[in-house]
């Protein structure tokens, strides 16, 4: 209101200095009129977006699947230098706040994105910048790990988007209704993801080896030894199912990734892709969102067989930090214009054993920008 009032006063002053003629009176409402019209238009667009999002939310609560609908905004996003924008955002959020200001800024952030400040490991005035605050650790005991040895725990705080079993050759994960992406595209063509042909079964024998590529044959025997034995029950025979779970982290969520089980990380793969936003709107308008975005894939083995975690970056949360490989950096300026570069891969030593992680161990963190 003060801005509009000021504009109005300025226009009136100009009008009086021009002698209050009819021409002058015509100019009085020109600037405020345009400003008000722009504000109204922006308000209407925002209201429409809120209304659309609310309708989608209501439909989802009723159990309806959200359909894939590419739009003009998605095409426009492809033209933006999102990686540069992301790095600039990272630079902005690294700016240090004066100590007195820090609690106000972080409390405002927490109010906007529903973060629980009581869980923060340090007093608020000890986080120098928003970037530092964003990737904060939590007080000990804030995230108790389910100690049941027969359970796989969530690696992150977030919302479950999808989960299920992968079946058939070229297994796909549904992004939203009407569009799916292939698991091997997400994890990389050189993945040692076990592919199970439809209707085919694999027993706990040497047959397991045939479903793995050559680069994992060396390590597979270790897992065969660790895997559960064939049951005595002659009416049932064990086979391996392949499962997936997609978890979305909102800006206010705790942004560190933990180990879901005890496992050995054998390979790290880095796909230097785009950095589209990953919000719900983006998932229903941008094709191949998870396959095109920059991501880090950790692959390895656990007592039941194959295990992979793919951490996918977004515009605001652009870089992924690995605690098991501190020198590793993501969201760097591109050397090539092509988005289809092969992923950069590192095999952890010793080959076939890799890095051992315990259930609940910190593995990685998402950073701002």
């Amino acid at each position: 209101p003060s801005f509009v009032k000021k504009l109005f006063t300025t226009s009136q002053a100009r009008a009086s200095s021009s002698g209050g003629t009819n021409n002058g009176q015509g100019n009085i409402f020109l600037v405020p009129g345009a400003t008000v019209a722009t504000l109204l238009m922006l308000g209407a667009l925002h209201a429409r977006r809120l209304y659309d999002d609310k309708k989608v939310e209501e439909a989802r609560e009723k159990g309806a699947d959200i359909e894939f609908k590419p739009d003009v905004k998605a095409t426009f996003l492809r033209m933006l230098p999102l990686r540069s924008i992301s790095r600039f955002w990272g630079f902005l959020t690294s700016v240090e706040f004066p100590v007195w200001m820090r609690p106000y800024v972080y409390k405002a952030w927490a109010r906007a994105f529903h973060s629980n400040l009581e869980e923060a490991a340090l007093p608020l005035d000890e986080y120098a910048s928003l970037r530092e605050f964003f990737v904060r650790t939590l007080k000990q005991g804030s995230r108790p790990i389910d100690q049941d040895p027969n359970c796989l725990v969530s690696p992150v705080d977030g919302t479950i988007l999808r989960f299920g079993e992968l079946k058939g050759v070229g297994a796909m994960i549904e992004q939203v209704k009407g569009f799916s992406y292939s698991v091997s595209s997400l994890l990389g063509a050189s993945t040692f993801l076990p592919t199970i042909a439809e209707g085919e079964m694999h027993e706990e024998t040497g047959e397991q080896e045939s479903i793995l590529t050559d680069n994992t044959k060396k390590s597979w025997w270790r897992i065969s030894l660790a895997s559960p034995k064939v049951q005595d029950n002659m009416l049932a025979r064990p086979m391996k199912g392949l499962y997936y779970c997609v978890i979305y982290l909102k800006p206010g969520d705790y942004h560190r990734i933990h180990s879901p089980v005890d496992w050995n990380v054998l390979v790290r793969r880095h796909f230097s892709g785009r950095l589209f936003p990953l919000n719900e709107r983006a998932t229903r308008t941008i094709r191949n969102l998870y396959v095109e975005n920059e991501r880090v894939v950790l692959e390895g083995l656990w007592q039941e067989g194959y295990m992979a975690i793919a951490a996918i970056g977004a515009t605001n949360i652009g870089s992924i930090e690995l605690f098991i490989e501190p020198e590793f950096k993501t969201n760097r300026p591109r050397k090539k214009l092509l988005h289809s570069e092969p992923p950069e891969q590192r095999v952890y030593e010793p080959e076939g054993v890799g890095m051992m992680l315990k259930k609940g161990d910190e593995v990685a963190a998402f950073n701002m920008g």
């Binding site: 995230r143 989960f163 998870y290």
Partner: protein, 46 residues
């Protein structure tokens, strides 16, 4: 940001009825909010 977890787990297939008797089962629903350390799924001891 998003995390996708892909993993193998043992299932049992009945030879008599050809039905799959899955040992592993998820303990979550779509849209659930989950925190680090909470169970995503469990399996039976074989």
């Amino acid at each position: 940001s998003t995390v996708v977890l892909v993993f193998q787990a043992t299932t049992l297939k009945s030879l008599e009825s050809n039905d799959t008797l899955s040992e592993f089962s998820f303990s979550i629903k779509r849209g659930d909010k989950i925190r680090v350390g909470e169970a995503l799924g469990r399996w039976q001891d074989s």
